[in-house]
Amino acid sequence: MTIRLDQVPLGHAFRITRVHWDILSNEEGRRLREFGLDEGVTVTPAHRGSIFSRDPLALTIGRMQVIIRAGQAAAIEVVPAT
């Protein structure tokens, strides 16, 4: 069962199964890859926005933490990492 990265609970690790590159702009896609967000990689959503909104989303990838918007996370399909 796949879920979108913008809908998963915080604090749990997920493996990226598919990235819908077509709904991201070239710039967004490239930036995601530069951050190391690609198919097969494990990420952990760590923080989400403030009281104003659910945006943005902070993700832990390896030893790094990156910030993306929920709109971009919606293009990423994940499964719980085992």
């Binding site: 710039e27 890859r33 190391g36 943005p56 030893r63 990156v66 910030i67």
Partner: protein
């Protein structure tokens, strides 16, 4: 032969590149701009062990050589030798964050592939070790095929080793056959194969690691908490603005005393006449009334620099992004807009970090609406003169402070509304959003902070010494000539050239309640808002002449006796919006590469200023405050 070899420092953002550059070059830096683009060029000299000098260039932090943002374009052009006015570097130093090897090696591989003599600086090794990561630099060097030097820039560790490696690399570069032909990068850091190689090399170099960045996680649990984090951010901003006022009181007093002493000295040691008047009334009076803001600007910048260098600023941007996305901006705009409370010029310069061009343009256009420190002299003068110092209806909040607070809020609300409109009309476009790396928390290195603070102070003083000096002197001349005939029934100010120009302007601004004083102050205030105060002071000094009773009055008291409350309030409302700052217009022209946007900015802000002042004036009149 033989100019100093050129070595370019490159690397990902947050690799600690600037600290390394500062540590290598000390204060021997030259900051300028690349021609035609808005990217800062930082160059400095470093001495090798044998006394030979190398020229270091600090390139902007980027993830790749793909030319998608101005920063990346410059990095690419400089390295490939295509940047006008910059010779191709003889060697590269690629700075990588030891704790983030896997990701930073992607760009390093792309750069090594270019074939220039390259050295990898494995930076911030101490922070990596603090987080439980042990690395093997020798193994990394063997796998990458280039020298790897461990450095801790902020503690000045590893610098000699790095310079030694630079020495060897530049010697190798002297032989002509070693100069490869650079056409275009063959590898791309976002390419899957490159990423895999980076991952493998990084893995092989790790001796041992514990899973996470403990300290950063603990801090983030508090600072990024949806409620607590926001409360802390608001608390920090409150503390910052309090400090701007509270800490600056004493130094402002010293500066005022200093200028007063200088004026007294000139009065006592120079023959009376044209030159003495020019120096006392024009130069010292005008420039002095602006330099008094230096302490406030420095305090504000100290806070901003500390928040940036500790890594907190990215957290602030994270917290504010949700709110800012509602008006079509991104959290990245938070830092430039916050800086604009000190001065819109560095604020607009800081928008370079916003990758989306429409988002960036909107942020530039609204930056002048943040209440910059140059408005403070105007606000404090008028509030002090016209708003009674009593509490607001039964509370402990002072009315004067409340009015000042309202003026700040009016600017912020105005900015958000303008952003909303612009993002739906002129700067329409999809929001590519907010993608950035969250740096680790770090103890700031005071030498770096002080150096940056000094660079800001110098920028401000140079402005005071040039633009503001020139305009106050010019205004003084225009106010003093031609001399009104003896015994005529007209004041010197009315009779002067400036007075006559002001009478023309008065026709335009009379419907919004502005009088001759204001019309006169508005022209020189185009140079800088605070000049409005020095202009009124200069005009007042000339007008008063030797009238002892009038001399005893402060400028505020004089205005109080001449202006209605409605006029004073309209004047305050005007300055929330009016784009009266040559430096801001000039920097907008430079940052947007043309006159179109600065002209638009000036136009829309003047229109808003006129409307706001008019509404304020006529509302006040209808309440009987005329």
């Amino acid at each position: 032969m033989n100019s100093a070899p050129i070595v370019a420092l490159t690397g990902n953002p947050n690799a600690g590149k600037s600290s390394l550059f500062n540590a290598l070059t000390g204060a021997r830096q030259k900051i300028a701009n690349y021609p035609g683009v808005t990217v800062e060029r930082k160059a400095g000299m470093a001495a090798l062990a044998d006394g030979r000098m190398v020229k270091l260039i600090d390139l902007p932090g980027t993830y790749s050589l793909d030319p998608s943002s101005p920063d990346e374009q410059v990095t690419r052009d400089v390295i490939l030798g295509r940047q006008a006015g910059e010779a191709r570097p003889d060697a590269l130093v690629v700075v990588v964050d030891a704790a983030n090897l896997e990701n930073h090696l992607c760009f390093a591989l792309e750069l090594i592939d270019l074939g220039l003599p390259t050295i990898v600086a494995l930076n911030m090794l101490d922070l990596a070790e603090r987080d439980g990561l042990m690395l093997d630099p020798a193994k990394l060097s063997a796998d990458l095929g280039v020298p790897v030097v461990s450095t801790v820039a902020v503690r000045k560790r590893g610098l000699d080793d790095l310079l030694e490696a630079v020495d060897a690399a530049t010697r190798a570069a002297q032989t002509p056959s070693a100069q490869p032909d650079l056409v275009a990068p063959q590898l791309h850091s976002s390419d899957a194969n490159v990423r895999r190689r980076a991952r493998d090399i990084a893995k092989a170099a790790i001796i041992s690691e514990t899973p996470v960045r403990r300290w950063t996680q603990r801090f983030d649990a508090i600072f990024l908490h949806p409620v607590a984090g926001l409360t802390i951010l608001l608390g920090l901003m409150f503390l910052m603005f309090q400090a701007v006022y509270a800490w600056s009181e004493a130094p402002i007093g010293w500066i005022e005393d200093g200028f007063a002493a200088a004026q007294t000295w000139v009065a006592g040691n120079m023959p009376a006449g044209f030159l003495q008047d020019l120096i006392i009334e024009g130069a010292l009076g005008g420039v002095g009334s602006v330099i008094v803001f230096l302490p406030q600007i420095l305090i504000l910048f100290l806070f901003i620099l500390l928040l940036e260098s500790t890594g907190y600023m990215t957290r602030a941007a994270f917290l504010m992004d949700g709110l800012m996305s509602k008006v079509g901006l991104s959290g990245r705009g938070f830092i430039p807009l916050l800086s604009s409370f000190a001065c819109a010029v560095p604020g607009i310069m800081a928008t370079r970090a916003i990758p989306d061009p429409k988002d960036r343009l909107t942020t530039i256009l609204i930056a002048p609406l943040m209440t910059c420190s140059a408005r403070l002299p105007v606000y404090t003068l008028i509030i002090g003169a016209f708003i009674p110092a009593r509490p607001v209806g039964g509370t402990i909040i002072g009315l004067q402070g409340f009015v000042l607070f309202c003026l700040y809020i009016a600017g912020i609300v105005g900015a958000l509304l303008v952003a909303l409109v612009l993002r739906r009309t002129l700067a329409k476009g999809n929001n590519t959003g907010f993608m950035m790396e969250m740096p680790r928390y770090q103890w700031p290195r005071m030498a770096d902070v002080l150096l940056a603070l000094w660079q800001r102070a110098w920028l401000f003083l140079r402005r005071a010494g040039t633009i503001i000096f020139a305009t106050t002197v010019a205004l003084w001349l225009l106010l003093s000539y031609p001399k009104a005939p003896e015994g005529a029934d007209v004041s010197q100010v009315e009779y002067s050239v400036a007075g006559r120009i002001a009478s023309g302007i008065e026709v335009v601004v009379a419907p919004i309640g502005f009088n001759h004083d204001i019309a006169l102050a508005l022209i020189p205030a185009m140079a800088a808002r605070e000049v409005a105060v020095s202009a009124m002071a200069t005009a007042n000094a000339i007008e008063v002449g030797d009238d002892e009773e009038a001399l005893a009055q402060s400028l505020g008291e004089r205005l109080q006796s001449k202006w209605s409350l409605a006029t004073a309030l309209a004047f305050l409302a005007w300055f929330i919006f009016a784009p009266q700052c040559v430096s801001t217009i000039a920097i907008t022209r430079r940052e947007t590469n043309g006159w179109k946007w600065p002209m638009f900015m000036v136009g829309y802000l003047f229109a808003l200023a006129y409307i706001a002042a008019g509404i304020t004036y006529w509302t006040a009149i209808s309440f009987g405050l005329g």
